[in-house]
């Protein structure tokens, strides 16, 4: 039995804890403004706000309700479009009407929720930020131009009416963006038990981390299952300890993106992470889940491989560690024992002489799975590359460290010739297959190009990089 706040009241859900929240909301709660259009977190039609107490007031984030189990709602505040709607249209709704920014209307509730979530969370009233926030929402009708006009309209209003430093919830209530009950949401949540912390897993439970891939692959099975949620954990998701930086298995992609520790140690990571999923997905998708899913193309895996990360595994009371590059034995085949869980990932903290780059190409730049991705970490000694670690995804059954390429780079100067030499070796080192993400020939070619792109980004190389890769 899960108890949680839903819009302006409290509810109890008797459904199995693995049931997608979307099904509970539509079928049991009758909230059909929450639409389902893809059930894989790729369209944003089903997004809701999920709030939890952070001090006396709740903090809200936007989540895709198709990928989150009912179990994860316990003790939290769920707000659907119905919970934002009042007799008079709010300013976001009004702007959609005035700009004609809704046509068939199926995606519109998702946009209203997403934009409201953005207003709750954003640190400033930037249009770019707002666009990025609704990038999770797909609209097939409008071509987004009118939605951009909506964004412009509401941000113009907010810039004059609300200081970003002001306490946000009362300000948004005052300006009509939120119903008044948001002022009491803290009290509502305080009445509920705090979210349960990780407990001992029973054998019949399915382990769910972020769920962002699991719910895409096995939704029907999970709907009837009791789930063990590993996403909740006390303490920071990312921390430095001795010579290492640690990432908890439950650290999310968003944690990585915004981490100051990582920002200091690994340059360019926030840019890399911005290319990974949408914000709701980044907030749900975990490091541990990404690794254990064993996708040959996982972005986080590729980044960690280039950092030559090490894994901490736990089974009962037994701990062991192993270099990440040995974790992947074959396609979807891991060095992971039954019952064993990933506890943390760590890499060396001392990186003051090192540079890092991540590259990814997909059909659509944002929110798409890569055709090929690659990361590189280079320790520089004066003019030379002292140490190199290169990773590549989408070019083999497992995510790879490119050892020959790394060996080639060590001792060389980062010149155009070096870049081209590395690209040539990288292409020779991989064995891609043709699939929906591209032909084998393309992936091989692309990997070489991404190597060149690393050198372009890291060292400003340009002249001579064009057109030489295929030589």
């Amino acid at each position: 039995m899960q108890r949680f706040a839903l819009n302006d009241g409290l509810v109890q859900a008797a459904s199995p804890s693995g049931l997608p929240a979307l099904d509970f909301l539509r079928q049991s709660a009758g909230l059909t403004g929450v639409k389902h259009a893809c059930r894989e977190g790729d369209c944003g039609s089903c997004v809701v706000l999920l709030g939890e107490l952070d001090g006396p007031t709740p903090r809200y984030r936007v989540v895709t309700s198709c990928l989150i189990p009912v179990g994860a709602l316990a003790g939290r505040h769920v707000v659907t479009v119905e919970g934002l709607d009042r007799r008079d249209l709010g300013p976001i709704q009004r702007a959609f009407v005035d700009e004609g920014a809704s046509q068939c209307g199926f995606c519109t509730p998702g946009f209203v929720v997403s934009l409201t979530g953005f207003l709750l969370e954003t640190e400033s009233w930037g249009e770019d930020l707002a666009e990025e926030a609704v990038a999770r929402n797909i609209c097939r009708c409008t071509g987004y131009a009118s939605i951009r006009r909506v964004i412009r309209t509401i941000l113009e209003q907010l810039r004059t009416a609300v200081d970003p430093a002001e306490e946000r919830i009362p300000a948004l209530v005052r300006e009509g963006y939120l119903p008044e009950y948001f002022l009491r949401a803290g009290e509502l949540l305080a009445e509920l038990e705090p979210p349960a912390l990780p407990h001992v897993r029973s054998e019949r439970q399915v382990v769910v981390a972020g769920g962002t891939d699991l719910y895409v692959q096995r939704p029907d099975e999970l709907a009837e299952a009791d789930v063990f949620l590993v996403q909740r954990r006390t303490g920071p998701p990312i921390w430095a300890d001795g010579d290492h930086v640690y990432l908890a298995a439950s650290a999310t992609a968003e944690d990585i993106k915004v981490s100051q520790i990582l920002g200091r140690t690994v340059g360019g990571l926030d840019r890399a992470m911005a290319l990974m999923g949408s914000q709701p997905i980044r907030r749900m998708a975990t490091v541990g889940g990404n690794l254990v899913n064993a996708s040959p193309i996982g972005d986080m895996t590729i980044i960690l491989l280039a950092l030559d990360a090490e894994l901490g595994l736990v089974s009962g009371g037994a701990h062991r560690s192993l270099p990440l590059r040995f974790f992947f034995r074959g396609y979807k085949d891991l060095d992971l024992q039954p019952g064993e869980l990933v506890e943390w990932v760590r890499f060396k903290a001392e990186r003051s002489d090192s540079v890092f780059s991540f590259e990814k190409v997909s059909k659509r730049t944002h929110l798409d799975i890569a055709s090929v991705n690659s990361a590189i970490s280079l320790r520089l000694d004066g003019n030379r590359i002292a140490e190199a670690c290169v990773s590549a995804g989408g070019v083999a059954p497992v995510p790879l460290q490119l050892e020959d390429t790394a060996a080639y780079l060590e001792g060389r100067e980062p010149t155009v010739d070096t870049a081209i030499g590395a690209a040539t070796r990288a292409r020779a080192e991989v064995s891609p297959i043709s699939d929906v993400r591209g032909s084998a020939a393309y992936k091989r070619l692309l990997l070489g190009q991404l190597l060149l792109a690393h050198f372009h980004v890291l060292f400003g190389l340009e002249d001579g990089l064009e057109g030489k890769a295929s030589a």
Partner: protein
């Protein structure tokens, strides 16, 4: 002018079929579809499904009481496969259960064995094997054979354009509610309520008057719910009739993508002949349309390809041949543009190829050959009120195309790793169903005794704003506030024998029928008012919600007038029918005037290619479009922008891929459509003082034409690619994915 449909969308209160409150005893249908592209069903055991928890019944072709046939134009498509299967995703068995998950689980438990037969996926192979949906068709003008010799330049080539998934956000869905006796009501997410009614009646062996089909709204359609909504309504109806209980089916996204048809892929051969000054003298083209396993709407779509073979240009000598090729893929179907985008892509490819061969700018060829007043199309019609040149010139001047081109050249001269490209895309699109008989519509208007007005038509609201336009027409015709009027759901009980809401013509035709019905009521009311006010009817007018005698407001309110009319036993209901005048087409001679008028416009598309990664951005699109006198500029601008972005998607990232007949792009994670981040800056405006006597209130249809502006993106990208590699010949294979870009730049040829 706003669109009142939007408000409930923003509140989350708009109901789609999947949102409707659950009626008592509701059951859910799921379908077992063919796992093989072609073969014979040698074993089918449904007993494992029938025994599962919650399963109410399992239905096969043998359970169909009427005819197992859902084909529209050609009757070649069973509802449920019998003996043979012809594509992966073809429905074979229907399972009805108490929960959707249980129904799907049971369908998956059915044991089926198929003896596979050789399958064909390539339209040219199908044509070579004689697998055509219908005999090929050829349109001609002048004499191409006699002209090649007098051309200064003749180039030939081959083009490919890919399929496109509609990706309406609301998947296919229907709810069938059994009524008394043999009656059945179906709430269907369809663009074609009458087609659903007709086919369901055929499948159930009932007369059409036993079946009502009602549509409130669609969560997007774009052609994908014209013919393709019908089988799902029929599946629900079959279950409802068998069990006497309500049955709903809502396809999952994955099922929808695997089982339903999409935009037709085309493979085409062209030959173009020009004078040295860029004048096109001769044009020969052959389209191989990949129709999939059944006719669906393919012959009609092929016809529109024929009609749009010359794009926005006048060419004096033309021979166009079109073949609809039967393959073992899901039946391809209508999609915004309906065969015209595929034809225009070939035309623009040929112009680009010719410009490349001649070493001139493609814009020069485009400009030289644009349609002028009175020019004849290969189908015999002459262009009237051509705005082709006007729109093109307006874009050139207003958006300073020469300056843009200079900037692009400067960028390309000074940048090694990125290059920019620019392209113009003129569009000329014929309005009317090419099947002349479909160009009819009807309306039913009631004025209730309190003065409120109800308008029903055959038009289906799917986000295109047809209800807002019909509302504007009714308010204008009656002279009253729009607030007094409601545009109703679409029901076969209120308006019968409707044409699908398609061919961009929904507002044109249903608006015209509404106007006639409102005028009929208006004339009756005038007579009543004349009597009440003791004057002559011709002095009475209603304007801005006021009844006037000459130019003076009369002491008679609308409510009072209506009550007077009612108590005087005057008919306050009118039904009207509209048939588009003048249009005709003779398929034997391939000559006629199939269109009421044409829509014109031009887009300027700018793109940047990253030569290192093979990625790109479409930076900006600017458009001059002929909307006539727009009935609702907000709605029309939305159609323009939305159509454009769909076209951009078709030309860039939307890549439909099959492997051995299996759709491998059957999820949103493998089939990508544009998001807000990749959408370019769009600046569009309507031609000032445009006029159109051929449509309601001098407006113009707008649904489909803007999609074709997106084709410009392909040629802007190609122009950037050529800036990197002037040594390579252009490629004409859409979509231009990052893979094609990189292979063009660095791949071995």
């Amino acid at each position: 002018m706003s669109n009142r449909e939007i408000e409930p969308h923003t509140r989350g209160t708009s109901m789609f079929v999947g949102d409707l409150p659950v009626p008592a005893g509701l059951l859910h249908a799921a379908v077992l579809a063919s796992p093989a592209p072609h073969g014979r069903v040698v074993r089918l055991d449904t007993t494992p499904a029938a025994g599962l928890e919650g399963v109410a019944c399992v239905l096969t072709a043998a359970d169909i009481p009427g005819e197992n046939q859902i084909g529209g134009i050609i009757q070649d498509e069973p509802l449920l496969a019998e003996g043979e299967v012809h594509f992966v995703g073809q429905p074979i068995v229907v399972v009805i259960a108490d929960e959707p998950r249980r129904a799907r689980k049971a369908a998956a438990a059915i044991e089926i064995e198929i003896e596979e037969a050789p399958a064909i996926f390539d339209p040219r192979e199908a044509a070579a094997a004689g697998n055509l949906i219908a005999p090929s068709r050829t349109l001609s003008l002048g004499d191409v054979d006699a002209t090649w010799g007098s051309c200064d330049v003749v180039v030939e080539g081959r083009t490919e354009s890919g399929g496109q998934e509609h990706l309406y956000l609301e998947t296919q869905s229907a709810l069938a509610l059994p009524g008394e006796g043999q009656r059945l009501k179906i709430l269907s997410s369809t663009q074609a309520p009458t087609a659903v009614q007709r086919i369901v009646a055929r499948v159930l062996g009932l007369p059409m008057n036993a079946i009502e089909v009602e549509v409130a709204r669609l969560g997007g359609a774009f052609g994908g719910k014209e013919d393709q909504a019908t089988p799902w309504a029929a599946v629900a109806a079959l279950g409802a009739v068998k069990l006497g209980r309500p049955v709903r089916i809502v396809l999952t996204r994955n099922e929808d993508m695997r089982m339903t048809g999409k935009r037709h892929p085309y493979s085409s051969d062209f030959k173009i002949g020009l004078r040295a000054d860029g004048t096109i003298l001769a044009w020969e083209v052959t389209y191989y349309q990949n129709a999939g396993a059944a006719a669906d709407l393919s012959p009609a779509i092929l016809e529109r390809s024929l009609f749009h073979a010359t794009g926005s240009y006048f060419i004096p000598n033309v021979r166009v041949t079109a073949l609809s090729c039967r393959t073992n893929l899901p039946p391809f179907t209508a999609f915004r543009g309906f065969g015209a985008p595929q034809a225009m892509f070939v035309m623009e490819s040929a112009i680009t190829r010719a410009a490349e061969a001649m070493g001139i700018d493609r814009l020069q060829i485009q400009h030289k050959n644009l349609l002028s007043e009175g020019d004849v199309f290969p189908y015999g019609m002459r262009v009237e009120r051509s705005n082709a040149r006007r729109a093109f010139t307006e874009v050139e001047e207003r958006f300073e195309v020469t300056r843009v081109q200079a900037e692009v050249e400067e960028h390309n001269r000074t940048h090694r790793l990125t290059k920019r490209g620019v392209a113009m895309m003129p569009v000329c699109f014929g309005i009317s169903f090419t099947s002349t008989f479909l160009n009819q519509a009807a309306a039913l208007v009631h004025v209730y005794t309190d003065g409120s007005v109800s308008v029903s038509t055959g038009a289906v609201e799917m986000g295109q704003g047809v209800n807002a336009k019909i509302l504007a027409v009714a308010a204008h015709a009656l002279g009253i506030d729009a607030d007094r009027i409601t545009v109703e759901t679409t029901s076969t009980l209120r308006v019968a024998n409707t044409s699908p809401t398609a061919a961009s013509s929904g507002a044109d035709m249903n608006g015209a029928a509404t106007e006639i019905a409102c005028n009929t009521i208006f004339d009756r009311l005038r007579a009543v008012a004349a009597q009440v006010l003791d004057t002559s009817a011709k002095r009475i007018s209603i304007h801005a919600d006021r009844i006037r005698v000459d130019e003076t407001d009369a002491a008679l309110s609308w409510e009072k007038l209506i009550w007077e009319a009612y108590t005087s036993r005057v008919n306050l209901t009118a039904q009207a029918h509209y048939a588009t005048p003048k249009i005709h087409y003779d398929k034997e001679r391939e000559q006629g005037e199939p269109f009421a008028y044409h829509v014109f416009g031009t887009a300027l598309v700018e793109a940047t290619v990253d030569g290192l990664r093979g990625t790109y951005t479409i930076d900006r699109v600017r458009i001059a479009h002929d909307a006539g006198r727009s009935l609702n500029p907000l709605v029309d601008m939305g159609q323009l922008e939305g159509g454009l972005v769909q076209g951009l998607g078709w030309m860039t990232m939307e890549e439909l891929l099959f492997a051995d007949g299996h759709n491998i792009t059957d999820t949103l994670s493998t089939y990508k459509i544009p998001d807000i981040m990749c959408t370019p800056e769009i600046e569009a405006h309507f031609l000032a003082d445009a006029d159109n006597p051929a449509a309601i209130l001098r407006s113009k249809a707008i649904g489909e034409p803007p999609l074709m502006y997106g084709i410009g993106a392909y040629f802007a990208l190609l122009s950037a690619l050529k800036a990197f590699r002037p040594d390579r010949e252009g490629i004409y294979q859409a979509p231009m994915t990052p893979e094609r870009v990189l292979m063009f730049l660095h791949g071995r040829t």
